[in-house]
């Protein structure tokens, strides 16, 4: 398999995984961006969002495509657990 083919397969798998949880026909990016510019300009919906969100699916609603200002924040709290979870409150 050529490098280009591997890349296409990887992209296809990423989209499959992204859309596979609920079987809906929505689209989203492979992963949310982490270092995007702050206060991205309002130029229209971008690729990092859900199109046609299922109104019964919370995560789709809050990540639906929008023309509103969005802010990508690269945040890595030091006390986050290795698995990405949060420790119990003190």
């Amino acid at each position: 398999m050529s490098g280009t083919s591997k890349l296409l397969v990887a992209v296809a798998l990423a989209f499959t995984a992204a859309c596979g949880d609920d079987g809906s026909s929505t689209q989203k990016d492979a992963a949310p961006p982490h270092d995007a510019a702050i206060d991205a300009p309002v130029t229209g919906p971008d690729a990092n969002c859900i199109t046609n969100p299922d109104p019964t699916q919370y995560l789709q609603i809050i990540n639906a495509c929008t023309t509103a200002t969005k802010i990508y924040k690269d945040s890595h709290p030091p006390l986050t657990l290795p698995d990405g979870g949060l420790p119990a409150l003190p």
Partner: protein, 413 residues
């Protein structure tokens, strides 16, 4: 001799005035039940702007003039008083003047005060409210409603993280908030590590309960400086606005958006990234707009319905005080009789609340997941025209595409 005596009297008068004594020129506040058709309310202090704006309109409501007479308390306290009938309001209450009484009064002007009546004629004067308000789901308070009250869902109240205007911060994430308010300085979230600069509210307030449900830190466990009393929101505002030097960057406070919106010249609202969300969003479509777009469509998750409660006959369901129900229906965007001489939804929108008819998501409990919602009668276009700008078509009688012409705009339904 006479001159000396007069001088002595003047001196005594001045001293008494300085001490707030009887010689003060200011007349005593009127007794509240001498005002035209008073309706007594206990509301959250996030609802103060609504009380002032709606209060003015109702004073001038020719078809049915009403005086809103209100006090502010934490939401759970209001419910406790109303459900259990266990505490009269004995402190001075607030109201606003009619246009006839004071044509120059505006919403930023102070309220007027009145003293509670003494319906029993014995003991200390005090009054039970006709309407109670909770600015969170009532299930967020550990109380059970009796069978002689009716709960009505009113407009949506968003809650925000606010910072001083000079702060460079623009957003906070769910994870950051968990550590900032759950761990304080030990949470090591820069720049919010100084617990003396975290301005929070009493654990029984709607603002604290709504945020607690969002970040998974019980309201009573939050780190920070609690701003308590009936004017806690105003104290948070004062604290944030008074910060100087490095504290401008480290200070953050929680507020109702209605309160923060009125202070935008001095405070900035942070965008919020909820758990599982990929980006942070303001309550509004931009940091400067007032359209509550992200509240209405679910991108901004920190909001609660306001709940308005009045007494009913438990056997028949009939409102005990019809004028109280008149006000509640108005706040909830329902048709009322007689029709008022103003648009209640417009009043609601202008103070930073979102009428139910402009919402496109709903939730069932505090901090619960959002699902799609379609109001029976949409007012989205009208709401947008009041708060910002709308792209909806204008109309006079009919609209194309199955839309409905309402209040001059082609609404979806």
């Amino acid at each position: 001799m006479m001159v000396t005596h007069m001088r002595s009297l003047s001196l005594v008068t001045m001293m008494l005035a300085a001490l707030g004594g009887v010689a003060s020129a200011a007349p005593p506040p009127p007794v509240c039940d001498t005002l035209p058709n008073p309706i007594y309310l206990e509301v959250g202090d996030t609802q103060t702007q609504l009380m002032k704006a709606l209060g003015r309109k109702l004073r001038d409501n020719t078809p049915k003039p009403i005086t809103l007479v209100f006090t502010t308390n934490p939401s759970c306290t209001n419910l406790d008083h109303f459900y259990n009938h266990n505490s009269r309001t004995t402190v001075n209450m607030q109201y606003v003047p009619s246009t006839t009484e004071d044509p120059n009064w505006i919403q930023t002007s102070p309220t007027l005060l009145c003293t509670p009546p003494n319906p029993d004629g014995v003991g200390t004067p005090g009054i039970f409210a006709d309407i109670a308000n909770s600015a969170v789901f009532t299930s967020a308070c550990p109380l059970t409603a009796p069978n002689n009250v009716q709960l009505t869902t009113g407009p949506t109240q968003a809650y925000v993280m606010a910072v001083p205007k000079g702060s460079t911060q623009t957003a906070m994430t769910f994870e950051e908030a968990y550590f900032v308010f759950g761990f304080g300085m030990a949470g090591m979230i820069s720049p919010w590590q100084d617990e003396t600069q975290l301005f929070i509210r009493a654990a029984t307030t709607s603002t604290a309960l709504a945020w607690a449900a969002q970040i998974g830190v019980p309201a009573a466990s939050w780190k920070g400086q609690r701003q308590t009393g009936s004017t806690g929101s105003a104290l948070v505002v004062q604290q944030l606005e008074a910060t100087t030097g490095p504290a401008i960057e480290t200070a953050v406070g929680i507020l109702g958006s209605e309160v923060a919106d009125a202070e935008r010249a001095k405070l900035s609202i942070l965008a919020w990234r909820a758990k599982g969300q990929w980006a942070a969003y303001y309550p509004d479509s931009t940091s400067t707009s007032r359209d509550k777009k992200n509240v209405r469509d679910g991108h901004y998750t920190v909001w609660s319905p306001t709940i308005w409660i009045d007494h009913i006959d438990a056997a028949t369901g009939t409102p005990t005080k019809p004028d109280a129900r008149y006000i509640i229906q108005m706040i909830a965007g329902e048709d009322v009789t007689p029709a008022p001489n103003f648009d209640p939804n417009e009043v609601v929108a202008r103070v930073g609340l979102t009428p139910l008819c402009a919402m496109h998501v709903k939730r069932e409990f505090e901090g619960g997941p959002l699902t799609g919602f379609t109001p029976n009668t949409s007012c989205t276009c009208k709401f947008e025209s009041v708060t910002d700008a709308t792209s909806c078509d204008l109309c006079t009688t009919t609209c194309a595409g199955g839309k409905v012409c309402r209040a001059g705009y082609c609404e979806e339904r």
